[in-house]
Amino acid sequence: MEPGSGPVSLLCLAATSGVPLFCRGAPTRHQLPFSVIGSLNGVHMFGSNLDVALTAAHTEGTRVLWRAFHESITLIVMSSEEGANDFTLSRLLDNVFSAMVLVLGLEELANIRNVERLKKDLRACYKLIDSFLTPAERTGDLTQCVECVLVPCSTTLQECLTAFTGAAESRFGCLLVGGRVAVATEPWWQLAPQEVNLLAWLVGSLLPSTTRDYPVYLPQGSPMVPHRLLTFQLLPGLDICLLCGPSPSLEAVETELVPRFWKPLLEPLRACARPPSVPLHPGVLAFLLINHEQKRSLSAVLPRGVQAEGPTLPLGSCASVLRAFYALVVSHYFSCEGSPGELPPLEVPLGGGSHSARHCYVVSAGYKAYAAQAPPHQLFLLLAPEVPTFALRPLATHILQYLVGDAAF
């Protein structure tokens, strides 16, 4: 999908002056008229002058969410997407602001000195922000857990990464495969999950490059002082990331350290670059596994074999159906420890009652979906409609056992 053609519009304004800073999502031809922007902001300002925080509004087809950050930036999101709920939109606002901090630093956002200058600087965030509006197979923006990928030879790669990172005078190193974390040094895991994801998405939103030296601010760890994010493309789809201070130079790491540490591992790295097949039941269209203790997640949309019968969802919609199912379950049924975090419970469980479900499922004409929780894990499955409903629960239990046990996630 063309970025900017989706049913989600995002507005960013300077909170005190009401000056629009940017608008993303709405096709440029259908830019919101200034009067609408003004009213949307006005109603929010009116509330805050009376000490009333306006957070959300629903019309028949559209949801609107407001959020002010550091009394300086207001973000407004409008969505007419089918699966959208306040949970997904709230996460979106949070991610967008963090992305702005990542690229510009908090200082420039919290104390706006020159609106025109800020407007221009904010353009540098557009690509990253746009990637939230069309999230494709991404899940970490909703789960706030690090998106991981299982690779062969992870122990060897881990050792090499730790040694390489140390040689580059850093402690923060990570190997991304297809934009997900394959291995990382211990301090990298200590970063906030959102920061780890943002760094991976930033790398994914940039033009493909052999190496990069990119200034970044860590929204939680270092919002005022920039660090250098160095990236090295070892093979297509395989990038090493380092967070560094002023030294060493990009040139030095590339020419002196990369060949010494990584050339000997060419074969294991090649094995990582090939997408690993997850041997699951053929009826599984997509899955998402979360480990809440470690704040890590594993997910995939699985291409269907030729034996598939009946109408099937296209791959793209598998990902979005799974996202919508996840959002539905965590905002209504799984009142789980450590999921929505700072978010207040947004909705009353649909069935009434205050208990927390352990399993739930949805059956529709086009698919079935099943969620199971077994702390610290949660599993979300999207299945083909021909999988019998009575088989969902044993299947989910089996897959959970397989992924958690054998694959040791």
């Binding site: 033009l207 990069r212 990119y214 395989l238 002023p246 040139e251 990369v258």
Partner: protein
């Protein structure tokens, strides 16, 4: 100092059977192959060639077309809108060529260093990082922006600093926008007379290939980038030969003696 085109490298060699064999190593499905840092083009053993690696810094004001040019040279998709480059990004381009003198084939590994003009101003470490051990600098101006052309002399002295011997090449971008040209051929000729620097013309417009006529290399876009890549390779090779004392150093060029 300018190395005449075709004096070091055999032009059109890539169309010969031997050239095609080398070309196959950098293509996949009629597109340019992307190589990671720990790989390189693989040639059949009987044609194994040496690789010569160079660092090329691409400089020029914001929006002049640095990122677009590098994408074009690498055979990557050229972004259609201007997204300011925030830090440094480098791109490796492998380019096979035949040396006229020795008859040897060499694979040039050109690593282009592109950094956004704004980032360069905001962070002190970026300019030194791009200059560190650079073998060549491309100075970009845009045919549609007079000020970028007028600023060239100042830009050259600002960027080169006290760097030693360096290949310096001027590239005029957006040459396809002749309707909006703000710099004439006469301006360019006069600049070349005064500064004795090679000037290349580039068009890196997004999607220009679809608009162009269908040619055998329509998919690879190699024909459009060959003049600049060959020219750059010739200057780099020539500079190495001079540095190694294999050919006499050129006379001091005017920009070293002239007003600057």
């Amino acid at each position: 100092m300018s190395v005449p085109p075709g004096s070091v490298i055999v032009p059109d060699w890539l169309k010969s059977p031997e050239g095609k064999e080398h070309l196959a190593a950098i293509l996949r499905k009629n597109k340019r192959k992307v190589f990671g840092l720990i790989e390189r083009p693989v040639l059949p053993p009987q044609v194994a060639s040496d690789t010569a690696s160079y660092k090329v810094f691409v400089s020029g004001k914001s929006g002049v077309g640095k990122t677009a040019l590098v994408a074009k040279l690498a055979g990557l998709e050229v972004p259609s809108t201007h997204h300011e480059t925030i830090g440094i990004q480098t791109t490796v381009v492998y380019w096979p060529a035949k040396l006229r003198e020795s008859g040897r084939a060499v694979i040039f590994r050109l690593q282009f260093w592109d950094c956004g003009e704004a980032a360069l101003r905001k962070f002190d470490h970026i300019l030194p990082a791009c200059r560190e051990k650079a073998d060549a600098i491309l100075f970009l101006f845009s045919f549609t922006d007079r000020s970028s052309f007028d600023d060239l002399p100042a830009q050259i002295s600002r960027v080169v600093g006290d760097a030693g011997s360096l290949v310096r090449i001027v590239v005029g971008t957006k040459f396809d926008q002749f309707m909006h040209a703000d710099v004439t051929e006469r301006d360019v000729a006069e600049f070349q007379r005064t500064w004795h620097l090679p000037v290349f013309r580039a068009q890196s417009a997004a999607g220009s290939r679809q608009a162009g006529r269908r040619t055998p290399d329509a998919g690879t876009g190699l024909r459009e980038v060959a003049p600049l890549l060959n020219g750059l390779a010739e200057h780099l090779w020539h500079q190495d030969q001079v540095a190694a004392g294999l050919i006499p150093a050129p006379l001091p060029s005017p920009e070293e003696t002239g007003p600057c």
